[in-house]
């Protein structure tokens, strides 16, 4: 990519960010709900915010390259109802996540499912999650 093209792309990305509406209560077009990869990595950042809580972690792909994953959950009230808190994850935590869905564009971006699917420092998270039943979400039973 030439410098000029790269600059234009960067400009468009910036303008895109400025143009999108504020909120995000909408459909599922960017995600493939039929794919549920399990990825293991180390937490780099945990953001407890609206409209979505999200977790960043680094994981190696099949070629040994580090992928910077971002996985989004629902909003803080929904996550609180699932036993999460602002302090549930911290940088350095080891996580193993089975995604509820992943970005269609192949970027390392996913969405949490609501049952099972999260191993935090070797234990199911949140405690008791392994006992939760069908929520109507897309994550397959573990």
């Amino acid at each position: 990519m030439s410098g000029k093209v790269g600059a234009v792309v960067v400009m468009f990305v910036g303008l895109f960010a400025a143009c999108v509406p504020l909120q995000a209560h909408h459909g599922n077009a960017s995600f493939d709900v039929s794919k549920h990869p399990t990825v293991k990595g180390i937490v780099t950042e945990y953001v407890w915010a609206n409209p979505h809580v999200y977790l960043k972690f680094d994981a190696k792909d099949e070629n040994g390259q580090v992928q910077h994953w971002v996985v989004e959950a629902s909003n803080p009230p929904d996550q609180t109802r699932q036993g999460w808190t602002k302090f549930s994850f911290k940088p350095g935590d080891e996580v193993e996540l089975t995604m509820g869905s992943v970005a269609r564009n192949g970027q390392p971006i996913g969405r949490f499912g609501f049952r099972g699917g999260i191993i935090l420092n070797g234990k199911p998270f949140p405690p008791g999650a392994e006992n939760a039943g069908d929520t109507g979400e897309t994550v397959p039973k573990q």
Binding site: A17, H26, A29, V33, S74, R81, Q82, G83
Partner: protein
């Protein structure tokens, strides 16, 4: 998009946006409800099954709606539209149905007039069968407007606090920390031609028996939407609410829209939706969609998901 007209076409092509997680959370890990019940700050209500196991606290107090109430458990989120009129096709539960030009074939369709259909097409929602990508939505809430009334009952009806004064019933809404008041001092509704439109309209109400409070609202700004799937209303709309205190622990809420300009007959969006009483020391979490956090989210998640790239493996 009007904010960046020169680049609209490019941005429209680029914007495939991350959705919200539209789950109705009907389950939760074992022990979470009990832990939440002990919490003093930043609380969140339990799921529906928890309430069925709770003891009844007795009969309804007379002419009293005050308390903190939970609409979440019974589906108050209503991301696909009011509970009785979701913009979903029969049998559908996922977000797969989107991008359709109208609501033909949805469950329990609304009785749009020709003018109503025309107004519907102008609204580009982010959810339901007519959902568009976020770059194309013109949902006023997405641009920072309050949801208004009755959308506050037809969307994100989660935790509310009702309090009563000598002359008002006041509703405090967890979502975006909205509030509205219903006058109970006997004043009539205003002539809508004599007052300015308001996002939450003008409401008056009265007790029709010792356990039933009914309210009427007019004068709602027609810039607001009725729900999260872009159903419109005209300025002539009136809304009738029935708040029935079943017992100490429950209110049943019924909401009916009357808007002859856009709908050929009255329709009811909520019919006896149960609101569960939460403990008096329940402390609402902040649930405010704010610009700074959302911009961070857009950069970290949505923007990346919007990038073109290889298909997911």
């Amino acid at each position: 998009m009007a904010k960046c007209p020169m680049l609209s076409a490019i941005v429209l092509l680029a914007c495939f946006f991350v959705p919200a997680v539209h789950a109705q959370l009907n389950d939760q890990p074992k022990g979470v409800a009990e832990e939440l019940a002990k919490r003093k700050w930043n609380n969140s209500p339990p799921v529906k099954s928890f309430y069925s196991g709770q003891k009844n606290h007795g009969p309804a107090p007379v002419r009293d709606l005050s308390g903190i109430w939970d609409g979440t458990a019974e589906g108050g989120g209503q991301f696909k539209g009011p509970i009785l009129h979701p913009a979903l096709y029969p049998g559908s539960r996922a977000d797969d149905d989107a991008g359709h030009p109208d609501e033909t074939g949805v469950v329990n369709p609304l009785p749009f007039t020709a003018a109503g259909l025309e107004a519907l097409k102008k609204n580009k929602p982010g959810d339901g069968v007519r959902a568009v990508d976020v770059a194309n939505t013109n949902d006023p809430v997405d641009y920072g407007n309050p949801s208004g009334f009755p959308r506050m009952l037809f969307y994100e009806l989660r935790v509310i606090e009702l309090t009563q004064t000598k002359n008002q019933i006041i509703m405090l809404d967890e979502f975006d920390q909205h509030w509205r008041h219903i006058w109970t001092d006997g004043r009539p509704l205003p002539d809508i031609n004599d007052v300015e439109p308001r996002f939450f309209g003008y409401s008056v109400g009265k007790w029709t028996d010792d356990y039933t409070f009914e309210a009427d609202t007019v004068g709602v700004d027609d810039k607001t939407w009725l729900d999260n799937v872009g159903r419109p209303h005209s300025y002539d709309m009136s809304v009738h609410e029935i708040w029935h205190r079943v017992d100490y622990d429950k209110i049943e809420l019924t909401v009916t829209v009357d808007d002859p300009k856009y709908y050929s007959e009255k329709w009811t969006g909520l019919n006896k939706l149960v609101l569960h009483r939460l403990s008096d020391d329940f402390d609402m979490e902040e649930f405010i969609y704010n610009g700074v956090e959302t911009e961070d989210y857009n950069k970290s998640v949505a923007g990346e998901a919007a990038r073109s790239g290889k298909p997911a493996k």
